[in-house]
C-alpha cells in the first residue's frame, strides 16, 4: 500500500518514519495520541481520490486532517491506518465577488478567506477562536461556529457547494453554488460529519459584505446571575447582537494576567457586539447600555476605536490559553444549554467544584447557550486528571439533563463518543449509523469518531473507567 501511495502522490509526500508520523499522532486535544502507520500529503482532488481508493482497496482506515486544531480528537489517527493530510491543498481558487462567493481548497485557513476578500469590502462570517490557523476543510468537517454565530450562523449556513471524494474514492460535486437546488441535502449532512462520510477537496463559500458599523461594549456585573439577567433582557427586547460573550471571575483574571485586556475587576463580564447598518447600531447601543444597567451592571465600557475593540476581544479569545497562567493543566468542555437554564447549570458546576476540589472557569457564548467550562487541575498530582475528566463529563451530563447538548462547536470526535448515549437513544444512534453506512459501507472513513461502538465504550459509557484505547496502549490521557 505504501508503494502505491508513493506512486500516487510522490515518495516525498508519504511519511512512514515513526518520528515523522508522531507529529500527526494527535490534534488540539493532545491527551489522546495514536501513531498512524503512514501520513500521506496529496496536492489535488485526484490525488486525494487516489489515496482514498488505495486505502479502500487495502481495507486500511484513513483519517482526513486539516491543521489539527480540533478540540475533540476528530483527527485522532487510527492505529495501522493512514492520515490524509490536506495542508498542501491551500489555494484560494476563485474570488467571485459579484456573486458573493469564494472557492477554496480545504487547507486554506479560515482567516485567509476573510483576508482575501477584505479589500473588496467582504468577509467570511464563521470565526472560530483558532481562525488564524484552522482550515476550511476542518471547519466543514466540524461545522465550526465562533463568537458571532448567534447572528450569522455556523459553517453550514455559509457553505454552498463542495467537490467531494466519496469514502470509496469517487469524485463528485455536492450542493450548488446557487442555494436551494433540488435533491436531498447531501452536503447538509456532510457538513459537521467529522470526516466520517468522505472528504471535501474544494469548497464554495458564501461571503458577506462587511457591516457598515460595529460597536463593542464591555459590562461588569456582581454575579453571573446578573449578567445572565442582562442577556435575558436583551433578548426579550428583540435585539440580536452579533455576539454576547460572558466570562466569570476566574477566566477574567486569567485573561487579564495573560493579555492585559483592561477588563474590570468583577464577578462576571459581558462582551456585547452590535453590527449592521450605522443607524441601527447607533440606535441600539443606548438600548443595550440601559438593559445592562437595569440588570445591575456596575460599569460599562465602550470600545472607542478598533484598537480598543481588538483588545476587548483579545481578552475573550485568549481565555483558553490564559488558563495556563492560573493552572498547570486544564480541560476544555463544549456543552450547550438552553440559555435560560444558565443559573441552574452554573450552580451545578459550583457543586461539582466543591465535591471534587477542582476549580472551573466558565466562558459562555451567552446568546446561544454554548458553555465552555475550563476544568483546572495539576496533572502532576495523583489522580487529578481523572478527577478533571470526571468533572468535565458530569458537566456534559448537566447540560443534557437541562435539555442541551454535549457539543456546540467542537464536535464529538473521539473525546465524546461515549457521551453520545446520554443524549441519544440506541434507535437514534442506529439511524445515524445507517446514514453513515449509506456513505461509507466499509466503515473506513475516520472510524471510531462521532458514533459510539462497544469496543470503544464498553457497556457502560463514560470516562470514569479505564478507556479501552488506554488499556490497549493506543492512547493516554492528560
Amino acid at each position: 500500500m505504501i508503494a502505491e501511495l508513493e506512486r500516487a502522490v510522490g515518495a516525498g509526500n508519504v511519511m512512514t518514519d515513526p518520528a515523522q508520523v508522531a507529529s500527526y499522532a494527535c490534534d488540539g486535544l493532545t491527551g489522546y495520541r495514536v501513531s498512524p502507520s503512514a501520513v500521506v500529503l496529496p496536492a489535488t482532488t485526484d490525488e486525494v481520490a487516489a489515496c482514498v481508493r488505495i486505502c479502500a482497496d487495502a481495507e486500511a482506515p484513513y483519517v482526513a486532517r486539516g491543521a489539527g486544531t480540533g478540540l475533540s480528537g476528530g483527527a485522532l489517527p487510527v492505529a495501522d491506518g493512514v492520515v490524509i493530510g490536506l495542508q498542501r491543498l491551500r489555494t484560494i481558487l476563485a474570488v467571485d465577488v459579484e456573486n458573493e462567493r469564494v472557492t477554496v481548497q480545504p487547507g486554506v485557513t479560515n482567516l485567509a478567506v476573510s483576508a482575501a476578500v477584505a479589500p473588496l469590502g467582504y468577509y467570511y462570517a464563521p470565526d472560530p477562536s483558532s481562525q488564524q490557523v484552522c482550515t476550511i476543510g476542518g471547519n466543514v468537517a466540524e461545522n465550526s461556529g465562533g463568537a458571532h454565530c448567534l447572528k450569522y450562523g455556523f459553517t453550514i449556513h455559509h457553505v454552498l457547494a463542495a467537490t467531494f471524494v466519496t469514502a470509496d474514492g469517487r469524485i463528485t460535486r455536492l450542493g450548488h453554488p446557487v442555494p436551494d437546488s433540488p435533491g436531498i441535502d447531501l452536503l447538509g449532512v456532510v457538513v459537521g460529519s467529522e470526516g466520517t462520510l468522505g472528504i471535501v477537496t474544494e469548497i464554495v463559500l458564501r461571503i458577506l459584505p462587511r457591516p457598515e458599523a460595529v460597536d463593542t461594549l464591555l459590562a461588569a456585573f456582581d454575579s453571573t446571575d446578573a449578567a445572565g439577567d442582562a442577556v435575558s433582557r436583551i433578548i426579550a427586547a428583540g435585539v440580536v447582537p452579533a455576539a454576547i460573550e460572558m466570562m466569570d471571575r476566574l477566566t477574567i483574571e486569567a485573561a487579564e494576567q495573560a493579555v492585559h485586556a483592561g477588563y474590570p475587576d468583577c464577578e462576571a463580564a459581558l462582551l456585547v457586539e452590535l453590527d449592521g447598518p450605522e443607524a441601527e447600531v447607533r440606535s441600539l447601543r443606548p438600548v443595550i447600555e440601559r438593559l445592562c444597567r437595569e440588570a445591575g451592571a456596575t460599569e460599562i465600557r465602550r470600545a472607542e476605536d478598533p484598537d480598543q475593540r481588538a483588545r476587548m476581544w483579545k481578552g475573550r479569545k485568549a481565555a483558553f490559553a490564559a488558563m495556563g497562567r492560573v493552572s498547570p493543566d486544564y480541560y476544555v468542555q463544549d456543552g450547550v444549554i438552553p440559555r435560560t437554564k444558565l443559573p441552574e447549570v452554573l450552580r451545578g458546576i459550583r457543586e461539582l467544584e466543591a465535591t471534587y476540589g477542582l476549580r472551573v472557569g466558565n466562558v459562555f457564548h451567552a446568546g446561544d447557550g454554548n458553555l465552555h467550562p475550563l476544568v483546572l487541575y495539576d496533572g502532576s498530582e495523583e489522580g487529578a486528571s481523572d478527577r478533571a475528566l470526571e468533572v468535565a463529563t458530569k458537566i456534559l451530563e448537566l447540560c443534557v439533563e437541562h435539555g442541551g447538548s454535549i457539543t456546540g462547536e467542537h464536535g464529538v470526535g473521539h473525546d465524546k463518543v461515549c457521551s453520545m448515549p446520554k443524549m441519544f437513544s440506541g434507535d437514534d444512534l442506529t439511524v445515524m449509523d445507517r446514514l453513515r453506512a449509506a456513505f461509507d459501507p466499509s466503515g473506513l472513513a475516520n472510524p471510531g469518531k462521532v458514533l459510539p461502538t462497544p469496543r470503544l465504550c464498553g457497556e457502560v459509557p463514560g470516562f470514569h473507567r479505564v478507556h479501552p484505547v488506554e488499556a490497549a496502549g493506543l492512547g493516554e490521557r492528560f
Binding site: 453550514i156 460535486r173 436551494d180 447538509g188 433578548i235 440580536v240 440606535s283
Partner: protein, 373 residues
Amino acid sequence: MLRPGSEEEVSELLRAADADGRKLVPRGGGTKQTWGRPAEGEPLSLRELDRLVALEPGDFVCVVQAGMRLADLDAALRADRGHRQRLMLDPPHGADATLGGIVATNASGPLRHRYGAPRDLVIGARLVLPDGTRAKTGGKVVKNVAGYDLARLLCGSLGSLAVITELAFRLHPVPEESRTVLLETRDAARAARFAAAARGGGLMPAVLELTWPDGRVVARFDSTPDAAKEQAAAAAAHDDEARVLSDSERRMLGPRIEGRPWTADGPVVGVGVPLARIADLLELAAEHGEDLALRGGVGVGEARLKAEPDAVAAFVRGVTALGGHVARRRVPDDLLGDAWPADDPVVRSLTLAVKAQLDPRGTLSPGRLAEAA
C-alpha cells in the same frame, strides 16, 4: 386517508405497510404534493399531530408537531406578549401549509432573503422510518453539533426518506419597524441594477423581491425606526422612480404580489441563478412575454410558464445556461421533456444509497426523488 394521532400510531402504520408492501405518501396541508416527481401511494396525513410542544422564546426556540400549520404557530407566537418572535418562514400557500410539509419541501418565500430556507432554521427533528424505528436528531438548542444532522437531510426530501413527526426551529425577533421601497419598471437591466443597489453600500434589506412581467422590485427594511427610515430613503435614492411606500400603499401592495406565481394555471418551476445573472434571468423571462410569471428573492425564486413543452424546455435550458438550476414544483408529466439536467451519477448513487438505508423496501413516496426511488 390514514390519519395517525400520535408518533406511536405513525410507527405502527408504517411498520405494517412496510411489511405488507403497501406504499405511503406522507402529507401535511396537501399544498405541495405536486413538488418533485409524482409519487404513488396511499396518503398518510400528519394533520392530527398538530400540537405546539414547547415555546422557549428566551432561547429563540419552538418545538412543534409536524402537522401543525404555520398559521397556527404564528398565532401562538403572537399571543406571547413577553417576546415578539416569529418563525421567519413565508412559503407559498403558507396559510394551509404544515411545518412538516414546509421542511419536507424546503419551501421558502420572500423572507428567505434575510432568514434563509427551512434547512437554515430547523435545529432538530423526530422522525419515523418505514420499519417503525422512531428516532430524534439534533436538539432543542440553537447551537449543537452532536451527531449527524438528519433534520437537514429531511429538508427537501419530499417525504421519501422518513416521516417527520416533530420539529424544533430557531425563532427570530420581530423588528420594531418596517419600511418598503418600490420600483416599477419593465426594463430588466434597470430592475436588476436597482435590486443590486438596494443591498449594496451598507443597505441590508430583510426582503428584496422581484416580480415579473409586471416589473416590480420591492425592498423592505426591517430595523429600529431610525435605521429602517434611513435605509429605505437611501435605497430609494438609487432610482428616480423608486419610492418609499406609505403604510396604506404597503397594505395594498401585499395582495398584489402575494401568492405569485401560483395564482394562475400553468406549470411552475423553482428557479435559482447566480446573483450577477439576475438581469439575464429577467431578459430570459421577457422572451416568454406575458406567458411567464416570475417571483424571486435575490437569486432564488419561482416561475410559472405556459403549458407547452417547448416553452418549458427553453426556459429550463436558459436557466441552466446561466449557471442556475430548476426544480419541479407543479409540472405535469407530459411537460417534463428531456431538457432537465441529468443527475450526476455519483450524487444519484449516494441518494439511492441513503434511500436504501432508511427506506430499503421503497415504502415512502416511491418515484418522488428519482425514477427508481
